[in-house]
């Protein structure tokens, strides 16, 4: 078990290294100069700009910069933001809590909606229930989250002259205030998310219901209710776990547009800002962070699989 975990963790390293290489060189090979961004519109001499460049270490050969960056990472130092001069990890840290919370809330919401509705739709395949659920879920995929978010806010504003709080309050400090800010983006994102999971649940239940062991269960005289909940659902959940996991990983870094619409001080907004500012170190840190999340969640999915499916369980 421990060996397995270590093995899996070691397997992540090449992937993460690939991500690091890609993001590092992609950024630097691209046109545009972060220094130009910093001095935009200011009437300063070339010497001043070059001085700043040297101070930030951007004048060194690329490969040296890369090596330094990697060595730093190994010591847990992701460097400082080119823009603010504060450590990248600090900047990310203060925003991660919010992004994580929204992602978790959206996940809970999505699973709560998707599992029962998806199952229902599969059981009553081709009936009006199925059609309705499918239309709801496909609509969820179709409505852009940001648009839904815009509409939600505008409706709140028009009918209640109220908008969600602009600044983040940690949940344990003031749950009410926290929720009143984050429930809306969670809803806007969760709808789409639930649609993804619902579709998967439906097709997976449909498939499982065709399985021989479901027929066996029926032949045993098991109550139909139990046939679905005990024999079909658990098997059907496996692929759903995968999509939910991947979607979750996606949300960590992918709330870009929604965070923009709701003015959430999260990872996504930071990412857009960092890109806009040409803040290399920050982008690198963020991409690597998201990649770490992604591989860790994949790892977690595998673990969950093992938990749900004895065929791949280990001792």
């Amino acid at each position: 078990m421990l060996r397995y975990i270590i093995h899996r963790l070691l397997l992540m390293l090449p992937t993460l290294f690939g991500v690091a290489v890609l993001v590092f060189f992609l950024l630097r090979l691209a046109p545009g100069d972060p220094l130009a961004m910093m001095f935009e519109g200011a009437n300063v001499s070339k010497e001043v700009i070059e001085g700043e460049r040297a101070r930030l270490g951007l004048d060194q050969p690329m490969i040296v910069q890369f090596g330094k960056w990697l060595v730093g990472i190994m010591h847990g130092d992701f460097g400082v933001s080119l823009w603010t001069g504060r450590p990248v990890l600090y900047e990310i840290g203060i925003r991660l809590q919010l992004s994580l919370q929204v992602a978790i809330m959206a996940t809970i919401l999505a699973v709560l909606i998707a599992v029962p509705l998806g199952t229902l739709s599969a059981i009553f395949k081709d009936s009006w229930i199925d059609h309705l659920v499918r239309i709801i879920s496909i609509a969820g995929l179709a409505v852009p989250s940001f648009w839904l978010g815009m509409i939600i806010i505008l409706l709140l504003l028009t009918y209640f002259s109220w908008i969600p709080p602009l600044t983040f309050t940690p949940f344990f400090e003031d749950p009410w205030k926290n929720m009143s800010q984050l429930i809306w983006p969670a809803l806007a994102v969760g709808y789409r998310y639930s649609a993804v999971a619902m579709r998967m649940m439906r097709s997976s239940v449909l498939e499982v219901l065709q399985e021989d062991y479901v027929r066996t269960a029926r032949a045993k005289g098991v109550y139909e209710r139990l046939v679905v909940s005990r024999h079909a659902m658990r098997n059907a959940l496996l692929p759903v776990v995968t999509v939910v996991g991947l979607e979750f990983a996606f949300l960590i870094g992918g709330l870009v547009v929604t965070e923009q619409v709701f003015n959430l001080n999260g990872i996504g907004k930071l990412f857009v800002q960092a890109v806009a500012r040409g803040d290399y170190t920050m982008i690198q840190g963020l991409v690597l962070l998201v990649a770490v999340f992604f591989v860790m969640i994949n790892f977690a999915i595998d673990m969950l699989y093992a938990l749900l499916d004895p065929r791949i369980r280990y001792r």
């Binding site: 021989d212 027929r215 032949a219 045993k220 005289g221 109550y223 024999h231």
Partner: protein
Amino acid sequence: MDQLVENVGSDPGREQRVLTATGGSPWLLEVEDLHVHFVTTRGVVRAVEGISYTVRPGEIVALVGESGCGKSVSSLAIMRLLAKPAGRVVAGRILFEGRNLLELSDEQMREIRGRDIAMIFQEPMTSLNPVLTIGFQIMEPLLIHLGMDMKTARARAHELLKMVGIPDAERRLDQYPHQFSGGMRQRVMIAIGLACNPKLIIADEPTTALDVTIQAQILKLMQDLSRDLGIAMVVITHNLGIVARYADRVNVMYAAKMTEQATARELFAKPCHPYTAGLLRSVPRLDRARGVKLETIDGMPPNLLDPPEGCRFAPRCLAQVPESLCAQPPLVEVGPGHYSACVRAREMARVGPEGLGLARASAAVAVTKQVDRSEPIMSVRGLKTHFEVATGLKALSGGRGVVRAVDGISFDVYRGETLGLVGESGCGKTTVGRTLLRLDNPTEGQITFHGKDVTRASGEQLKQYRRQIQVIFQDPYSSLNPRMTIGEIIAEPMLVYKLQPDRKSAREKVTELLTQVGLFDYMAQRYPHELSGGQRQRVGIARALAMQPSFIVCDEPVSALDVSIQAQIINLLEDLQQKLGLTYLFIAHDLAVVRHISDRVIVMYLGRAMEIADRDALYETPLHPYTKALLDAVPIPDPLIEAQREYRVLGGEVPSPLNPPQGCVFHTRCPWASEECTKVVPELREIEPGHFAACIKV
């Protein structure tokens, strides 16, 4: 089963038992004029049309017929488990203890399922829920139907597992299906079926997916249980041997209709329907000398979407009379308890099948064969093919195991002969074939073909080799590229290798090949899914022939086919061999088929050759205990012979090739095994001229 071998004699008390079990009401189950239709987008499939049969308490009734004739559907209809919403019972009655099951509410029906009627399915590998423990799956009907508490249910489950012969039952209860072998899973299915002491068990091809030795174990178990517990059984099968060995009465179905009903003895002795007669004759049998061609039933079973008018069998029937007479023959009684749905049934009862001219003239022609034994076309020495696999636990931890699929095998193949390769599932037959074809790479050993070493051939040399050696696969459904027409498939090698100068001549050649394998010219335009299984197998043969090979590996080419088609293909292969001077390596697990077609036979077990001999020597005087056990396990399609036969059931299971036993690989199941066998690896020795066996005890 813990005991390795069990002595089972004939069962003279069977008739008696059936009679005493018959209590007040004569019938336990009466199926009357059952019609089942499936409404699909491609049309209405009339899967069952007016079949009727009855089952007495305690009796074993067989339902036989070719694939797709409606056996499963009729039994699922009894359980009311037809696929919804496509399947529906449109007419008929199913009386179980006098109650019409079709009129019960869903809830009432659910109560009957698993409690009064249990069902066992064909696929043991997929019929158990992979995420629930074996124990729970056995306990579930107990909890639901008998309202037991967990503790008593568990105790009963334990008892049931022991009853079906699973050792170490207590620990096994907490395991999951994937930790069980196929045979053990089927035992678990039986345990589940038995859980609530049902009155009737419907077993839908319970042993088709299993090896002969395991099949014998399972059938023996079911027979014993039925006898001891007085449970009636409906056994669905297409294997006439099984019917002969176990069934009291037989119902033969053909194309959704009942064709003949009789007691087993009567049916085998005096078939009164041309179809039954054909069926009985087209199976190669272990108890009869061969040397002649197999009899066949020509043609294909009808498509149930669009069945022929009148007698369904008429188009294939050699005894057919003018069409008007064949119209919709009803079941007529030809003897006591013997019914047949043929207009000439009474006539046939009088004069027998031969009287109607049902034996084909061609069948009598003896096959004479010239095999030049001076120099082998191919010779294999010490061949080993091992696979590195990540398995189970180790798959997760990155550890690897070695599957010794083929573990040191040597043999020669001579020009023009057919070398049979038999053995149970997983013993490495396919791997031998694939290694010869260089689809898998040998780990060790040597393959020489026409005197050239091809073990590590590559590039041009390999290409050259491959033009002379071809393959025919088991599964006719997946061995043809579904996106290419038959014509394209057959012509492809000719065009790639420029065997034909241009497309036109290639097309002509395709036509020629199609004719050669008994297909029609126009089929070149069709896609594989537009052909039946037997036809596809013929296409597979034509494709192999297109390369003009001298050697063909036939990997179970007939195992997936119905008996009537199987005979056609075997005959075709033999014809081609004669005409083209081909050499075959014929892989199969059906000993009778191998016997019929082979000149020499290799018996494999766990990657090793146990015995190699000429066909007749092997079948008449088997030397190796494994060969003997295999031959014993095969039921012979004749109840009279079966009743007199002394046979032993080989116990235990085939060990994993990942971790084969020390010493003689067979010692774990061998009735002769001694201390020494666990240590010494027996060499393949020539015991008699041309007869080799790998056993220290012979």
